[in-house]
């Protein structure tokens, strides 16, 4: 123990003036911060992850959690995080595992983009009294239509259309698997998307039987581990998504540790209880862009060409060229997952250092597909770091058709972004499989909260569009003229194809 203890990450205090000794903090903390000794509640601050479960359920507001109470000697290069990572690896010699999205203070492009509004020369629209079209269709659009006029004046469509997904708002919920999150959490999300008329992803964890009633609003995922994948699963999904990569960890596979593979998870994933569920880094039947086409076609063939097939990639340097390949693979949509995307468990070095922001990736993918005249072949779904309705509006201006949200939907269910999902002891019943913790999350009330969030964003999106004099999401898509860059450099302005403020 030559390194000894490091300063506390959090300091927990109970105000004795306010505490009534009810013990709710002890009951609620799943990390072992509180314990009863005689009549007193004792605190072990070192166990605290700042999930705020205790604070949220303290009836007297008696609990105070302070972050980083003990200072290191400040240094701009040798930050606290850097030093603590060195201590950790000096002790263990292992890969540091982390949760949630990128935790480095990179500049956020969304926050350097501003939206436009009408003044005098063109009137803005009031969404209260004018219809705003937010409905979006995801999938291939024909490059031209051939029609035949019938003798009675009707027109017959001769072009064969491919299946599209109809969403009532361009906001969907991304793939968080059963295993990574609890069944109650998935159920709440499923109820919310069904009510709203949008979709959610199953993740690579199969589709639990109890979610079959919501299957028409679920996108089933086929990832490199092929967990839970059979013809029954493929047929139940409204669409199928091939996961190539994830924004939080581009280039590597995933694995669900055996501790999280309980009886029910084992059944849904179709693997033995307690065994590691390992998703290899590549799909071992995809070693080239031609092979991707083969997997896309095999899924379409298996489901008799009735379902759209999406391909999800992590946003990396060459996303645009990769997306152009995907557009030619027969896929119906490409999902671009930016480097701020969340994850239940990701090596810290990948979370913080690999991949690029979704804003730049989506803009370059959209531009490349337009250059090549194949933008109609695929829809673009942006995910990874979408935090509020303004982000949705901005990324649509940069060329996306729709977004996936993940973390924000979890926050709507209580998640405090403590980032310790990988421990499997989530006090909010979200990122855990422990029955007593899962039971804390009521699918009914949480479904309403998620629904409220998406409805709130949708209203804001309609207002933003109205202010810009736009009454259809189609007219916002790729509409870079309604964006301006604020303090962005020329290179990035060129990539985004956006002018600077004042221009």
């Amino acid at each position: 123990m030559s390194i000894g203890s490091t300063p506390l990450k959090f300091k927990v205090r109970i105000d004795p003036e306010r505490c009534m000794n009810c013990g709710r903090c002890i009951e609620n903390c799943s990390y072992g911060v509180y314990r009863k000794e005689g009549d007193d509640i004792r605190i072990n601050s070192r166990n605290c992850v700042a999930c705020h479960r205790c604070l949220a359920f303290c009836p007297r507001d008696a609990i105070d959690i302070e972050e980083k109470p003990g200072d290191y000697r400040s240094h701009p290069v040798w930050t606290r995080e850097v030093r603590e990572a060195v201590f950790n690896q000096a002790k263990t010699g292992k890969i540091i595992l982390s949760g949630m999205g990128n935790a480095k203070p990179y500049p956020i492009i969304f926050d350097r983009l501003v939206l436009d509004a009408c003044q005098v020369t063109n009137p803005s629209i009031d969404p209260l009294r004018e219809p705003m079209e937010l409905r979006t269709y995801l999938g291939k659009k024909p490059s031209s239509l051939s029609l035949r006029q019938m003798p009675n004046g009707d027109v017959e469509l001769l072009t064969k259309l491919t299946p599209n997904l109809q969403i009532e708002t361009p906001i969907m919920i991304g793939h968080m698997s059963y295993g990574a999150i609890s069944l109650n959490a998935q159920t709440a999300l499923a109820k919310a998307v069904s009510k709203i008329g949008t979709f959610m992803g199953t993740g690579e964890g199969g589709l639990h039987e109890s979610l079959y009633p919501y299957q028409n609003h679920m996108i089933v995922q086929v990832a490199s581990g092929r967990f839970g994948v059979d013809i029954n699963y493929l047929e139940r999904g409204a669409a199928i998504e091939i996961k190539i990569g994830q924004g939080a960890k581009p280039g590597i596979g995933g694995h669900l540790p055996g501790e999280k593979v309980c009886a029910d998870v084992s059944c849904t994933r179709m693997i033995p209880e307690g065994s590691d569920a390992i998703s290899p880094a590549p799909h071992h039947d995809i070693y080239s862009i031609e092979d991707l086409k083969q997997l896309v076609h095999s899924l379409k063939e298996a489901t008799e060409w009735k379902k759209p097939v999406f391909v999800k990639i992590a946003a990396v340097h060459n996303s645009a060229a990769i997306a152009a390949g995907i557009a030619r693979s027969g896929a119906d949509a490409v999902v671009v997952d930016g480097f701020r995307g969340g994850s239940g468990a990701t090596p810290r070095v990948f979370r913080d250092h690999v991949g690029i922001p979704v804003e730049a990736a989506v803009a370059s993918v959209d531009a490349k597909l337009r250059q090549q005249g194949i933008r109609n072949e695929v829809s673009i779904i942006a995910s990874g770091g979408i935090r509020e309705s303004a982000d949705v509006a901005k990324i649509i201006c940069l060329g996306a058709d729709a977004v996936y949200i993940g973390t924000s939907a979890l926050v709507a269910m209580g998640c405090r972004v403590c980032g310790t999902c990988y421990r499997g002891t989530c006090a909010w019943g979200i990122a855990t499989q422990k029955p007593e913790l899962v039971a804390r999350l009521d699918p009914e009330t949480n479904a309403v909260q998620v629904e409220n969030l998406i409805n709130g964003w949708t209203l804001e999106l309609a207002e933003l569009m109205g202010a810009a004099g736009i009454n259809s999401i189609e007219s916002l898509r790729g509409n870079r003229d309604r964006l301006r860059g604020y303090m962005l450099d020329e290179g990035l302005l060129n990539v985004l194809d956006v002018k600077t403020v004042g221009a």
Partner: protein
């Protein structure tokens, strides 16, 4: 016979071919014979029907019987890459050789290949409860046999005086299931995470009915199988990544 349907696949794309197969199954056909198959992919893709037998005369393309759940597919010829990919139930019997990634992620059923297979045979096969996929190869397998295997049984017999598995990476990353090789395996050819041990009598008894069935299907003289030596390759650990990480 009403229950038998013959399909001519000459110049037929795989989608109309599969549509004809599905239509035949839907109308109650139990025996479907497809002639003039020449490289069509995805034959039997996602097909159901426990008592249906499909005979493929010719050389099918990749992903034969992918996601298939129930039928038996008999190929009178070689097959391309990944027959039995993510197959759920049923049988694929190949009277010839097959390409890479045979039985990729197979979840149940059996794949028999009379001759040889390419690289990464049986990769990421898995099992769950009564679903235990079986891949038997009569001849030899190329490198990375049984890579990432998470379950199931993979047998390579090395018939016709071939060396069953003489390339590197056998069982690389294996964390479930077992690989049985007739004869011995050079320790240097084992992948990371795999270990070998001599087969016990009980284990030999357990696999013998499968080998006998394989021999009978292809009309192979089975007299030597009971007494031959076999090597059993299994995971060194069911949790290969358990000690790789520390919490942030």
């Amino acid at each position: 016979m009403m229950n038998s349907v013959r399909i001519d696949a000459k110049d037929l794309h795989y989608t109309p071919l599969n549509q004809q197969i599905r239509a035949a199954v839907a109308s109650g056909a139990k025996e479907i014979i497809i002639d003039n198959v020449l490289g069509q992919r995805f034959i039997g893709d996602g097909l159901r029907g426990d008592d249906v037998t499909i005979t493929v005369n010719g050389v099918p393309g990749g992903d034969l019987a992918m996601f298939m759940s129930g039928p038996t597919v008999i190929v009178k010829g070689n097959a391309d890459h990944a027959p039995g990919n993510t197959m759920d139930k049923g049988k694929v019997i190949i009277h010839g050789s097959a390409g890479d990634a045979v039985a990729h992620s197979m979840r149940g059923g059996r794949v028999y290949v009379r001759d040889n297979i390419g690289y990464r045979g049986g990769i990421h096969m898995k099992q769950y409860l009564e679903k235990r996929p079986i891949l038997v190869v009569g001849g030899s397998a190329r490198a990375f046999l049984g890579e990432y295997m998470a379950g199931g049984l993979l047998i390579v017999l090395g018939l016709n005086s071939l060396s069953p598995a003489s390339e590197r990476g056998i069982g690389s990353g294996i964390h479930g299931g077992e690989i049985i090789i007739r004869g011995t395996v050079d320790e240097n050819n084992l992948g990371v995470g795999a270990k070998q041990q001599p087969i016990t009598n009980n284990e030999r008894q357990a696999i013998m009915p499968i080998i006998m069935d394989f021999a009978q299907v292809f009309g192979i003289d089975s007299s030597c199988f009971r007494t031959d030596t076999y090597t059993r390759i299994i995971p060194a650990s069911a949790r290969p990544f358990a000690n790789k990480y520390t919490w942030e």
